[in-house]
Amino acid sequence: MRRSLFPRLGLLLGLLFLWLPVLLLAGYAFSDARIPFQWGGFSWRWFVALAGNERLLAAAWLSLRVAASAATLAVVLGGCIGWVLARQGPFRGRPLFGALAGAPLVLPDVVTGLSLLLFFVLLEGATGWPAERGATTILLAHATIGGAYAAVLVQARLATLERELEEAARDLGAGPATTFATITLPLLAPSLVAGWLLAFTLSLDDVVVASFVSGPAGTTLPMVVFSMLRLGLTPEINALAVVILLLALTSAGGALLLLRGVLGRR
């Protein structure tokens, strides 16, 4: 029973299902043919075309900036939320706080996007800000969503963290700030890094919320790719997928090494 073939076959088929379309897409990015997914000999031409596509490049640059700043904000916000949930103890309104902290995880994208847009519109009507929706509004939306995910990671880490280490530091005369900086923060580092990467990825991947809260000034990479895909697939998207795939592999690999380094130092 233990050596039954069924789970292994299931895993193999599942992985094949997950990876085959992506690998085919990546492979055909190097095809000279004008039609995606047809082989016309090896060629770099779609990568060259990609590098010359200014609309895509501008959108990619905006997306990277928004994703990096949103992820950084998300880690600070998520760190605070996780801290409150794990360490604050009971306070008035805690159930409501927990529900609000978890809401971005379970709200459908269309609801999150619509609610934030309507909020920004009413805010503009009342205060004049934000006069133009774009990078800033997308950043705020993505930091809110990413923060909710980072909070889960931080809270889980804080819950399993041994309080003895912090108490020992306090007993040896370290102040709360020193204890936090030299004990708690290094122990939290893996979940903060993981939270940053998760928020970064979620931001780079989001079409729906960004489409709602953005204006004519802010077009992110996923918004451009989505409008291209609506008209059908082009070989340039194949090439773009290869670039994203390589970025994802290096960032996942880097995260693993980093986490191993952080954990290995202990």
């Binding site: 233990r2 459908p108 934030l116 994203i244």
Partner: protein, 278 residues
Amino acid sequence: MRRLPLLVPVLWLGLLVAVPLLVVLVLSVSWPAEGVPPFNLPGVAGLNGDSFALVLGDPYYRAAFLKALVVAGATAGLCLLLAFPMALGLVRAAAAWRAPLLLLVLLPFWTGFLPRLGAWIGLLRDEGWINHLLQAWGFIETPLPLLYSWPALFLGMVHAYLPFAVLPLYASLSRLDPVLEEAAADLGAGGFTVFRTITLPLAAPGAAAAFLLVFIPAAGEYVIPELLGPPSAQVVGRVLWQEFFQNRDWPTAAALAVLLLLALLIPIHLFQRLEARS
């Protein structure tokens, strides 16, 4: 100083989560108007119940909710069927293989949602890979209409959400003590009986979490039905998008959002209870 970590998230969550949700509620009973923005708040004119009356009364909107729930349920069910043997395979893999295999399951989540949908478009469309192969081998003369169909929609949905289903199942199966299965086998139970009487009941909470983790986001999905589905796949996410972006009927879009949230309250509550227990 000690209040700062409480003050920052309270302000942030209040402003960017609680207030926007209240705003949606207010908008759903507002009056549509010509102009920018295209609505008048319920002030002197009172509340406007037309949007809810429209969405609840018109068969088109009612069908959108039904389709979304059926699509989400079927997607979650299919994901569960595929994820169970995958999670079982992961748990029973040699220890050295487990982490890399788990990474292989999760990495597609990291490689971009849109490129993966692009891959399915390239495989399924009329001049796509599958039709090209079938024609080259002489099975068909004219291309099959694979893209923009219900099967294409489900392929895309299951492909996108499968990793979400594997994770909770893997977590609950890896906590399962193999001694229990061995004991059942020693007492003469066959492979299937062990699975049915030991493995399956003990993995049930994980399976429920996996189902809900797929069902909840799938119910509001917009992008996949839009890119892969047939025109008849007017699920609620797509209808809401059209009301907002094409018809510029913001109160109706807000009423749809409120009702979608109400429909998801029970699954969300169930999911949070499962999470709290584990």
